[in-house]
Symmetry: C2
Subunit: 341 residues, 2 copies
């Protein structure tokens, strides 16, 4: 089954499911659009589709990649992805950029950012819309990952620029979290975002080529020292620090080898399964809280009073606890909440 332009709004659940399962890229793209739609009827269909495809998900290696603008994320992903498709993998790249406006298709243009992957038949690139609120990562990022897995992509690269809470959110939905750092030493190392190196499964210092090689190695040794005093996330993995050059395709192979080592070790120990289960449950709770918050924002009277009370609390005119009581009453959740208190 292939999707034709004329059918654009008419695919049935079965057509979506079949097309995605066959790895049809056009149907995959339309299924993602369905999932991103806020229309209730689309939402319902999307949920049915996800539930239907659930059994055929989970077979990819999920890698999150973060780094400040200019660190060379696109160049690295283009090179890494090209190596991987050449080795027989099917690679999906999901770009999460909480700062960009919804661009309807690409951040800066995929063809400019990842010139080789953009025309690679075994690669699929999709930016995330930015309407979500879970740390700048849309709730649909995770669902899009599931669709890509159902479509047979066995490598998922989730890219984020690391603004706001997006790295934490991305780290919470992947198997491996790769942090890219610029070469530099001493004072230049200043400015690592709080918490980022603590959730890294590996740090790769980029642009280690030409005059930069020595600076990159110096930076790497400083990151190694910093990592040494932090408790590793798992006793079975001490996050390595490597230097790479995407431009020269040097150590990109080593980078992937380390990711695969991590994956097979964690599969062996059961940590991979446990981590994914935990992530799914946490994701459910995050979404649930997001929906409850949306309930507060969605009711005009509640939302207006909440912002008045926020102002009073800020100025020290109202005790925070008193403000909370008032909102809880207003939203009609008072009695049940009291029972449980």
């Amino acid at each position: 089954m292939s999707s034709k332009k004329g059918q654009r709004n008419n695919l049935s659940l079965e057509q979506y499911a079949e097309g995605v399962a066959e790895g049809d890229r056009a149907t995959l793209a339309r299924a993602i659009t369905l999932i991103e739609s806020t229309k209730p009827e689309h939402q319902a269909l999307a949920q049915e589709l996800l539930q239907l495809l659930l059994a055929s998900t989970g077979n990819a290696i999920r890698v999150g990649i973060t780094g400040v603008p200019g660190v060379g994320k696109s160049t690295l992903i283009d090179q890494l992805g090209t190596n991987l498709t050449a080795a027989g993998h099917k690679v999906a790249v999901l770009a999460v950029d909480p700062t960009s406006e919804r661009s309807g298709g690409s951040i800066l243009g995929d063809k400019t950012r990842m010139p080789r992957l953009a025309v690679d038949d075994n690669a699929f690139i999709r930016p995330s819309p930015t309407s979500g609120t879970l740390g700048g990562v849309t709730k649909t990022t995770r669902e899009t990952m599931a669709l890509c897995e159902a479509a047979g992509f066995d490598v998922l690269l989730i890219e984020t620029v690391g603004v706001g809470q997006s790295e934490t959110a991305v780290a919470g939905m992947v198997d491996f979290f790769l942090v890219l750092m610029l070469p530099g030493a001493g004072d230049e190392l200043q400015g690592i975002k709080k918490g980022v190196i603590e959730i890294a499964d590996m740090i790769a210092v980029t642009k280690s080529d030409g005059d930069n090689v020595q600076r990159a190695q110096l930076a790497a040794s400083e990151y190694r020292a910093a990592l040494q005093i932090l408790t590793p996330i798992s006793p079975n993995w001490s996050p390595p620090v490597i230097t790479v050059s995407a431009k020269e395709n040097s150590s990109i192979g080593e980078l992937w080898d380390l990711i695969e080592q991590h994956q097979s070790k964690f599969a062996e120990t059961g940590e991979l399964e446990a981590k994914r289960q935990e992530q799914a449950v946490r994701w459910m709770h995050d979404m649930l809280e997001e929906r409850l918050r949306a309930r507060l924002r969605g009711d005009k009277a509640v939302s207006r009073r909440l912002s008045e009370l926020e102002k009073q609390v800020r100025l020290g005119q109202a005790a925070p606890s008193l403000a909370v009581e008032e909102i809880v009453e207003l939203v009609g959740l008072g009695p049940a909440a009291k029972k449980s208190g």
Copy 2:
């Protein structure tokens, strides 16, 4: 006005307010008990009391202190507090211990833990009950701080053993967050809890006496190196790392000087006021979300279905998003949430 045993359950709002304002310790203790009570009528009275006293709060320096068990928190607080009361301060110590069962009065016994402060007329020690859920810190910790301020205590020391999320919660309600570390070097430094050094306004390596002095200094220099590559929370403050000995009362004065320097600098720049306002608003939102979560737990049908769905999500039998839709419907928040989505 002094509180008599016979009146235990009969204080009026005015009696509470007057007693606290006069710094009467027995009334303060009873007001805290009132705030910790979960009975609706006590809650209502407590909220009125807090609102009434609100204007006389905010005049203390609020210091959070964390460190692993054995680091010497009690010894340091006993010495620091004794120095401070000797210098004319009134010191309240609030101990937050998410691991201890409610002990009705003390953790390990205040007289054993802080022998001098426990009998000091200008000190007030109060453990927090552990029934709260905001990162192991009860919602009443913050309200207890307000009561202590209204009672004229000008130094608040909030102690936490740093289990779970309690440091983050405590850091979110103080002006200054002090992290205590054991002396040691190299491998012994392993095991710093993720995120702790990132929220530290100062690190003090404890037990720097006798044979430990050199090891403490070595540890301090490693922490300095680790802090150097992190962006400081404020451009006006680079968290210092010092070595102290509570046993010998050495550098405890320097420790307090640094805290006061931080406080006056942040008062000058306006950061203190801004931070406190932000903390009050965030506290309000945290409590509000806690109440919404309590609503889910409080309804038996919702709570039972939620744990069934959680299991299915964990086992990959249900998509997280589908589970969320079902709960949102069940709790009766569906339509409004949809409107806002």
